[in-house]
Symmetry: C2
Subunit: 324 residues, 2 copies
C-alpha cells in the first residue's frame, strides 16, 4: 500500500516527464506552461489511490491519472479564456501571455493529449473507462455553460446551483476515483460507490470554496476575502441570502449586487452583515457537512479492508479542514 506522499511523488515525477510535442512551439509551449504551473494534483492522486484500494500495481493507472490532470488543466485553460481571467497560480493565463487564438488551439490540442493518455488504460476495461471519460468531459462542458448562463441571471435556485457545481467540479473528482478502480478491475458496485463518494466530496469541496471566500482566515486563505462578493458570483451563500432576505434587507442586497456605486470594502462588509443576519454561515456549513456525510457513507460501503482505505479517508478529511 502506498502512502499519500508516495502517490504524490509518483504523480509529480510522472508529470515532470510528460512530453507534449515541440513544433509548432506556439501550440505546445502553452500546454507545458499550463501543466507545469502546479496545483494540488488532486485528481491524478485520487486515480492512483482508488486503484491502490484493489491492486498493489498502481502503474496500470498512471496514464489514466495523467489524463485526468491534463483534462483538468485543459478546462482551466479554456475557462480562463472564457472568464477573461488574467492570473492563474500567480502567473499570467495563456491568453494573456500569448493570445486568444493560441489559447483556443493549444487547449484543443491539450484535450486530444488527454485522450492519448486515457486510451493507455488497461485494455480489459478500456471501453467503460473511455465511456466514463467521454461522459464526464461532456458534463464538465455542460457545467461551464450553466456557470456562464448563471452570470446573466439573478434567479438561480439552490438546486440549479448544486447541479451546476456537480457538473463543473464534482463529476471529474468522481470519475477519477471510478477510473482508478476500473483500472484495477474493481467490481461495478465498489467502483460506483467510489464514484458517489467523489461526487459528494466534490460538492462539499466546492461549497467549502464558497464558504472560505467569505469566512476563510485572511492569513492563510491565500487570496483576498470577498473576491466572489465583489464579482457578484452566484455562490451558494448569495443564492441562499437572495432566497431568505425579506423586505428592506432584500432591497439592500439587490442594490448591492446590481449597483456598482458602493466601494468594494463597503460592499463586502455590508453583504457579510446580511449573511450574518440570515445565518448563512451555518447554512453553508450544514450543507457542506450533509454532502461530506453522504460521501463518507458511500466510501464506507466500498468493500475493502479498512487499513487500505486510510489514505483516501485521510485525504477526504484533509480536504474538509483546509483553509485555502
Amino acid at each position: 500500500m502506498y502512502s499519500f506522499i508516495e502517490l504524490q511523488n509518483t504523480i509529480n515525477n510522472e508529470i515532470r516527464q510528460l512530453e507534449f510535442g515541440n513544433n509548432p512551439s506556439e501550440l505546445y509551449q502553452p500546454i507545458s506552461y499550463t501543466i507545469d504551473a502546479g496545483g494540488k494534483r488532486m485528481r491524478p492522486i485520487l486515480v492512483l489511490a482508488a486503484c491502490n484500494l484493489f491492486s498493489d500495481n498502481i502503474k496500470i493507472a498512471i496514464s489514466p491519472a495523467l489524463a485526468m490532470e491534463v483534462f483538468h488543466n485543459f478546462t482551466l485553460l479554456h475557462d480562463d479564456l472564457m472568464d477573461k481571467a488574467e492570473v492563474r497560480r500567480n502567473r499570467p493565463t495563456v491568453h494573456k501571455k500569448w493570445n486568444d487564438n493560441i489559447a483556443i488551439l493549444s487547449g484543443d490540442a491539450m484535450l486530444i493529449k488527454a485522450y492519448q493518455l486515457i486510451v493507455k488504460a488497461p485494455s480489459k476495461n478500456l471501453a467503460p473507462i473511455i465511456e466514463l471519460f467521454n461522459q464526464t468531459a461532456l458534463e464538465v462542458c455542460e457545467g461551464q455553460q450553466y456557470d456562464m448562463n448563471f452570470e446573466e441571471r439573478t434567479d438561480v435556485s439552490e438546486d440549479e446551483y448544486i447541479e451546476m457545481i456537480r457538473l463543473k467540479t464534482s463529476v471529474l473528482v468522481a470519475a477519477s476515483l471510478k477510473i482508478g478502480a476500473l483500472c484495477a478491475d474493481a467490481n461495478e458496485k465498489d467502483a460506483q460507490n467510489l464514484y458517489d463518494f467523489g461526487v459528494n466530496l466534490g460538492l462539499a469541496f466546492q461549497l467549502q470554496d464558497d464558504y472560505l471566500d467569505t469566512y476563510g482566515n485572511p492569513d492563510t486563505f491565500g487570496k483576498k476575502i470577498g473576491g466572489d462578493i465583489i464579482a457578484n458570483k452566484k455562490t451558494y451563500m448569495l443564492i441562499k441570502a437572495q432566497e431568505l432576505a425579506k423586505g428592506e434587507q432584500a432591497e439592500t442586497l439587490k442594490l448591492l449586487i446590481t449597483k456598482n456605486s458602493v466601494a468594494p470594502d463597503e460592499k463586502i462588509n455590508k453583504i457579510i452583515q446580511i449573511y450574518n443576519n440570515l445565518n448563512i454561515k451555518m447554512l453553508v456549513k450544514d450543507k457542506m457537512n450533509f454532502y461530506y456525510q453522504l460521501a463518507i457513507d458511500s466510501f464506507n460501503s466500498v468493500n475493502v479492508d479498512a487499513e487500505k482505505k486510510s489514505v483516501l479517508k485521510d485525504l477526504a478529511n484533509k480536504l474538509m479542514e483546509r483553509e485555502s
Copy 2:
C-alpha cells in the same frame, strides 16, 4: 458493393439522425447548427468507401465515418472563430450567431462527441483506429497553428506551405480512408496505401482550391474570384510568385501585398498579371498533377479487384475536375 450515391445517402441519413444533447441548449444547439449546415460529407463517404473495398458490411464503419465528419466540423467551428470568419455555407458562423465563449465551449463539446463516435469502431481494431485518430487530430491543430503563423510572415517557403496543408487538410482525408480500411480489417499495407492516396489527393485538392480562387470560372466558382489575393493569403500561387519575381516585378508584388492603398479589383488584376507573367498557372497545375499522380499510384497499389475500386477512383477524378 455500394455506389457513390448509396454511400452518400447512407451518410446523409445517419447525420440526420445524430443527436448531440439538449441541455444546456447554448452548448448543444451550435453543434447541431454546425453539422446541419451541409457540405460535401467527403470524409465520411471516404470512410465507408474504403471500408467497402474490403467488406460488404459498411455498417461497422458508420460511427467512425460520423466521427470524422463531426471532427471536421469541430475544426471549422474553432477555425472560423480564430480566423474571425463571419459566414460559413451562407450562414453566420457560430461565434457571430451566438458569441465567442459559446463557440469555444460548443466546439470543445463537439470534439468530445467525435470521440464518442470513434470509440464505437469495431473493437478488434479499435486501438490502431483511436491512435490514428488522436495523431491526426493533433496534426490538424499543428496545421492550423502553422497557417496562423504564416499570416504573420512574408518568407514562407514552398516546402513549409506543402507541409502546412498536409497537416491542416490532407491527413484528415488520409485518416478517413485508413480508418475505413481498418474497420474492415484490411491489412496494414493496403491501409497504408489508402492513407498515402488520401494524403496526396488532399494536397492536390488544396492546391486546386488555391488555383480556383484565381483561375476558377466566375459563373460556377460560387464565390468572388480573388478572395485569397485580397486577404493576402499565402497560397501556393503567391509563394511561387514571391520566389520567382525579380527586380521591378518583385518590388511591385511586395508593394501590392503590404500596402492597403490599392483598390481591391485593381489589386486582383495586377497580381493576376504578375502570376501570368511568371507562368504560375502552369506551375500550380503541374504541382496538382504531381500529387494527383502520386495519389493514383498509391491507390493502384491497393490489392483489391479493379471493379471494387471504381467508386473511389471516380470520386478522386471528380474532385480534380470540380470548379467550386
